[in-house]
């Protein structure tokens, strides 16, 4: 039960962490393709792969590094969060490219 609770806590913490990143990164990717900076087809996915880690960097590393302690207290290290960001952005970007 403790293991399930820990998993649930981790998932909830990650949802809070990425709520701040995913929507703006997706919206900016769409905007870049709409104004023609990146191609409409693959461009959204490709720009998302780069924009999501950039959002992570500016939101947490540059602007508000103390917020990391919220996640540290829940057992999530900075390395874990960065690995999750890279994995999530690559997977979502790939899905957007395939679609």
């Amino acid at each position: 039960m403790s293991f399930i609770k820990n998993k649930k806590t981790t998932i909830n913490a990650l949802l809070i962490f990425y709520r701040k990143l995913i929507v703006p990164a997706l919206a900016l990717s769409l905007l870049l393709s709409l104004i023609g900076i990146v191609p409409m087809t693959d461009g959204i996915g490709i720009s998302f792969v780069f924009l999501m880690p950039m959002m992570h960097y500016f939101s947490y590393e540059a602007r508000d590094p103390d917020v990391y302690y919220f996640y540290y207290n829940l057992g999530l290290s900075k390395l874990t969060l960065w690995v999750t960001t890279i994995t999530l952005s690559a997977l979502t970007g790939l899905i957007l490219i395939v679609l």
Binding site: K5, N6, T9, N12, A13, I16, F17, R19, K20, D64, D66, V67, Y68, Y69, F70, Y72, N73, L74, G75, S77, T80
Partner: protein, 218 residues
């Protein structure tokens, strides 16, 4: 080895060794005050104990179980940084539900002081309200040991009194290490006091020790 046991902490920044073979311990029911001048390494020591920054050497154990990393400290030790740490884009109610187990979350949500904040975003709370909420979250968590880094920083006297009351009440089933430049408030609630000086911890018996060791003016 019952309690939080910290030993042999060594930390070097560049060519300066700021922590030199540090020892500090705390048991549940105790509040250990940690005093020291600016730059003496108080925050660094707490972060090393918590596991958020590395040390050249450290031994941290909770009730005999060695704690190596941040992930291992989760649920055993929690840490209040000097600055506000709550994510500002989610509601207080969501933060509490994420941070605490359901029973503890419901208990905290039902407290008179917290109820008005539940539907607000963390960024809508004042600095003092955020600090009180952060301390309540840590003290209601399942962690038996809580490290408080300058909890009184920038707070009004009324909020300081509230926080002191919350900390003293919670110390019944938690071990707390507290550091703050407001030494009077630390002395008010601490059951034992240590001074961090020249990279070493020294046990403090009374105010005269703080004068003798150069922390307070004569």
């Amino acid at each position: 080895m019952i309690g939080l046991h910290v030993d042999s902490v060594i930390k070097v920044f560049g060519e300066r060794q700021i922590l030199n073979d540090i020892f500090i311990s705390c048991k549940t029911g105790e509040i250990t005050g940690l005093l020291g001048r600016n730059g003496s390494g108080k925050s660094t020591l707490l972060k090393i104990i918590f596991g958020s920054i590395p040390a050249e050497h450290k031994f941290v154990a909770v009730d005999g179980k060695k704690v190596h990393s941040l992930a291992e400290a989760s649920g055993l030790i929690c840490y209040l940084p000097q600055q506000n740490f709550l994510p500002d884009h989610v509601k207080v109610s969501t933060i509490i539900s994420c941070f605490l187990k359901p029973a503890a979350a419901n208990d905290l949500k039902s407290r008179k002081i917290v109820k008005p904040w539940l539907t607000q975003y963390a960024k809508q709370l004042s600095g003092g309200e955020r600090r009180i909420l952060e301390i309540l979250l840590l003290l209601c968590s399942e962690a038996a040991y809580v490290l408080l880094d300058e909890p009184f920083n920038g707070l009004s006297p009324i909020n300081i009194e509230k926080i002191k009351e919350i900390i003293s009440t919670s110390a019944v089933d938690k071990g707390i290490i507290i550091t703050d430049h407001d030494y009077r408030n630390v002395l008010d609630i601490a059951s034992s006091v240590m001074l961090l000086k020249d990279g070493h911890t020294k046990h403090i018996k009374d105010r005269n020790d703080l004068v003798r060791l150069g922390y307070l003016p004569a």
